[in-house]
């Protein structure tokens, strides 16, 4: 099928970043093509834990995170569904006094960002959260954090973008992409030629290939979550839970299933695919029983994994390319992009229309890896 498309912006990768960017750009009056090699939101955006969490993020992510915090309650109006978004609160446990001290230090560090953290320790913990076993010395609650259904959000953003006039090309792998001097030329799928003024690289775990294509190698590695889900059970866990150190996280969805994760899955021979790790799943299950004794006897119905991108400093890459005019990057969310992604979409639209972001993103510049790459090259 031969087809020619000419748009203002082409977006490679229909995850939550790419699909929310497509919608934001359509709202700004730009013509947009959103291209995905599979289905929109079927990779990391669709298979992640579903935490809509600000607590625990490094301070440099919080302005972006706060911006996203304002977007989540508006999903119904923006994309037609609320995606099961709930401001349930996010409770982060400390197993030891040392861990609790870290939670206290974090609360102090982010005091000015308006997260409204509440520290709860000792006997007050079980009084306040009676469903929790006394396996923690304390916890930090972020009352307005929550969770949502990751399977639904990105497809709904992509659908809303399409209804708003974006061209959405699924099952359309990008085969070639090149800068032409006054824009870009993309060859995708089965003979589709796309010309655009600006290009967004939001290809998740596959973004490093496109960055390298424009002579901007990045130290992206892949991580694979290891998730466990139970059968539906009576509603009892009112918050999304995490632990200092990150070895266990869990929430109960509206239907009653406990969705829990921790540890890492394992890549298959083809590293585009992965499997949950039985070892990781076992330890998640053990921890779940310890924390929630009422889960003894519950049945686990499914494990799952997925493919996510991680950067060495725990922060994503967001912003303009340093080699190629008109190219924007947004990837490498390190297993924590679900909450911030809708704000990243708006930031990308601002970068395209205004050339600048109203939310600080300097910490996420791709240039921070240039020196590292150069040093590595020199040492070889």
């Amino acid at each position: 099928m031969s087809r020619r498309i000419s748009v203002d912006v082409a977006i490679i990768g229909g995850g939550l970043v790419g699909s929310s960017a497509a919608l934001a750009m359509r709202k700004a009056g730009l013509s947009v093509a959103l291209i995905d090699r599979g289905y929109c939101g079927a990779q990391a955006s669709g298979v992640n834990y579903g935490g809509v969490r600000r607590q625990g993020r490094p301070p440099e992510q919080l302005p972006l995170s706060q911006r996203a915090h304002g977007i989540w309650p508006q999903l119904k109006a923006m994309i037609g569904i609320d995606a099961e978004y709930m401001r349930s609160g996010h409770l982060k446990l400390a197993r030891t006094g040392k861990d609790f001290a870290k939670l206290e230090a974090y609360a102090e560090t982010v005091r000015d960002y308006g997260l409204g953290l509440e520290l709860v320790a000792g006997s007050a913990l079980v009084r306040r959260f009676p469903w929790l076993s006394a396996q923690a010395v304390g916890a930090s609650l972020c009352p307005d954090d929550g969770h949502a259904n990751p399977r639904l959000v990105a497809p709904a953003f992509a659908g809303a973008a399409e209804r708003a006039g974006a061209i959405v090309l699924e099952q359309t792998p990008v085969r070639e992409v090149a800068a032409t001097g006054n824009g870009f030329e993309i060859l995708a799928g089965d003979g589709i030629e796309i010309r655009c003024q600006q290009l967004v690289n939001s290809a998740g775990a596959w973004s490093d290939r496109f960055a390298a294509n424009f002579n901007e190698p990045v130290p992206l590695t892949r991580i694979y979550p290891s998730m466990v889900v139970t059968e539906p059970l009576p509603l009892r866990l009112p918050v999304s839970m995490g632990e200092q150190g990150g070895s266990f996280y869990g929430r109960q969805v509206a239907r009653g299933n406990y969705v829990m994760g921790g540890g890492r899955g394992l890549p298959l021979g083809d590293p585009d695919y992965s499997r949950p790790s039985v070892t990781a799943a076992s330890s998640v299950m053990q921890r779940a029983i310890t924390l929630f004794p009422h889960l003894a006897g519950a049945q686990v119905i499914r494990f799952w994994s997925g493919t996510e991108a991680e950067m060495p400093d725990g922060n994503p890459v967001i912003g303009p390319s340093e080699t190629t005019s008109g190219l924007l990057h947004a990837f490498g969310f390190c297993g924590a992009g679900f909450q911030t992604a809708p704000a990243v979409g708006e930031v990308l639209a601002e970068l395209v229309t205004e050339g600048r972001s109203t939310t600080p993103i300097d910490a996420f510049s791709i240039g921070r890896f240039r020196k590292v790459a150069a040093n590595t090259a020199a040492s070889l």
Partner: protein, 467 residues
């Protein structure tokens, strides 16, 4: 420590037992893992406690085969490592080594294998209709299991509905057991039965048996109807009857029949999740409208150390299962340099049965207009409580053309059964909505655990290697 892995056989039905027997004959000591409490599988299922019934009364015309299979198993029992009540819920992919995750008496164990023969069998293929989740509605297979293993019936006045040879067999077994069989409602048109004439040339015994079941049912006054489509189960908290339409010479008739239990099914569907998790390549089988692990005539899959046999590798019945179990073992022995397979006779016998299945399938066809006849408010996926209307809405809203996408966006197939029960219907719904064939919408990817496992499954993982 030197570790010497043994071949592992999953399933102790006709295929698994014959595979084990063949390996034992070659001097191997296979590990045989079976979910059941006693070996025998489904069709030759044995009761937990001897209830005094003879083989003849329990297995009818198949008594001789059942006895021979059970005796074969007892004979090899000292020479195999047999683990009943063992759920195999995960298989590692080749790059992660040869390992099974199993649940044995509530404890999680990991068992290594040198080769794997999957004899995982089949379950009833079901399709939704109004009231199919009402208490008192069973599958044909479950109603037969109740009779064989527990010595009880699913009700006092039972209606049997569906398509497939099991329909008449189970109805006849219930009649023999003293239950009142109110009706046999065949969803296939009476004209489809003409194919039995062709079948009689190839398999006269099967046709003679089938005709005798039908005749005895009729002589006992059991109502037999063809071209049936159910309209509704009567009763809400318990089955009180069934209203159905049927094709007649002049058009259509709507009839009701009172009963306190309904057994139904549309032939069988293979249990293929372990082959999927093992990384075997799959191919769509148009006749059975299902994806099957690719296999050669002996049961070799695309993965060199994994073999498939029995109905789990494609529905062919118990006789073919015994043959294919032996064939898979012969292939394993040949591939490991122990003995030439020398299997031409068995391969030919299995092929002859497969040809008969083709004809049988025409005599008991799948109702491919089913989803069009079922009202929108009917439950499609009972684990997740998704109606056909919700499925259709999800397909339209998401422009869905692929079944894993349907699962992600609608939760169909995401629940306890992981699509084992609803994927036949979901496939029909999606391919119907897309105007494509069932094979074009893809297949649900298997995820471990293939069946639910307890959250606190014993804590420690016990790695186990037999030398």
């Amino acid at each position: 420590m030197t570790e010497s892995l043994q071949p592992v056989i999953v399933g102790a039905g006709p295929a698994g037992i014959r595979a084990a027997e063949r390996l034992v004959r070659a001097g191997l000591r296979p590990i045989v893992l079976d979910e059941g409490q006693r070996a025998g599988g489904q069709i030759y299922r044995r009761p937990l406690i001897d209830d005094g019934r003879s083989y003849r009364s329990r297995y009818g015309s198949e008594a001789g085969k059942a006895r021979r299979l059970h005796e074969a198993f007892e004979a090899i029992l000292p020479a195999i490592d047999y683990r009943p009540e063992t759920l195999v819920w995960n298989v590692s992919t080749p790059e992660r080594g040869n390992q099974l995750d199993v649940l044995l008496a509530g404890v999680h164990r990991q068992i290594g294998f040198s080769q794997l023969i999957l004899c995982t069998g089949a379950t009833d293929r079901v399709l939704p209709f109004p009231g199919w989740t009402t208490p008192g509605v069973y599958t044909l297979g479950a109603s037969q299991t109740a009779l064989k293993a527990q010595g009880c019936t699913i009700g006092d006045r039972v209606v049997f509905m569906g398509s497939g040879p099991l329909l008449y067999l189970v109805a006849w077994q219930y009649l023999k057991a003293g239950a009142r069989v109110e009706a046999v409602l065949d969803t296939a048109p009476v004209t489809s039965k003409r194919h039995l004439l062709t079948l009689a040339i190839h398999a006269p015994r099967i046709v003679a048996l089938g005709l005798s079941y039908g005749l005895q049912l009729q002589l006992a006054g059991v109502k037999i109807r063809y071209g049936v489509r159910p309209e509704a189960v009567l009763g809400t908290s318990q089955v009180e009857g069934l209203r159905y339409r049927r094709r007649t010479l002049t058009g259509e008739a709507v009839e009701s029949i009172a009963c306190d239990a309904l057994a139904y099914g549309f032939a069988l569907r293979p249990e293929t999740q372990l082959a999927d998790l093992a990384g075997c390549r799959f191919r769509f089988n148009g006749r059975d409208r299902v994806w099957l692990p690719e296999r050669d005539a002996l049961g070799r899959t695309s993965r060199s150390d994994v073999y498939v046999a029995g109905d789990g590798s494609g529905i062919a019945g118990a006789d073919a299962s015994e043959i294919s179990g032996e064939l898979a073992a012969a292939a394993l022995l040949e591939d490991t340099g122990r003995a030439l397979a020398d299997a031409a006779g068995l391969v030919a016998a299995r092929k002859a049965i497969l040809r008969q299945r083709d004809i049988l399938e025409q005599a008991f066809p799948f109702p491919d207009d089913w989803l069009e006849t079922v009202p929108d408010e009917t439950t499609l996926c009972r684990c997740e409580e998704i109606t056909i209307a919700e499925g259709r809405r999800a397909i339209a809203a998401g422009s869905i053309v692929e079944i894993n996408r349907l699962k992600a966006l609608s939760r169909v197939g995401m629940g306890r059964c992981q699509g084992r029960m609803c994927s036949a219907a979901a496939t029909e719904l999606l391919s119907g909505a897309c105007g494509t064939s069932a094979g074009e919408v893809g297949r649900l990817r298997a995820q471990a655990p293939v069946k639910p496992i307890p959250l606190g499954f014993g804590g420690s993982v016990e790695a186990e290697v037999r030398s």
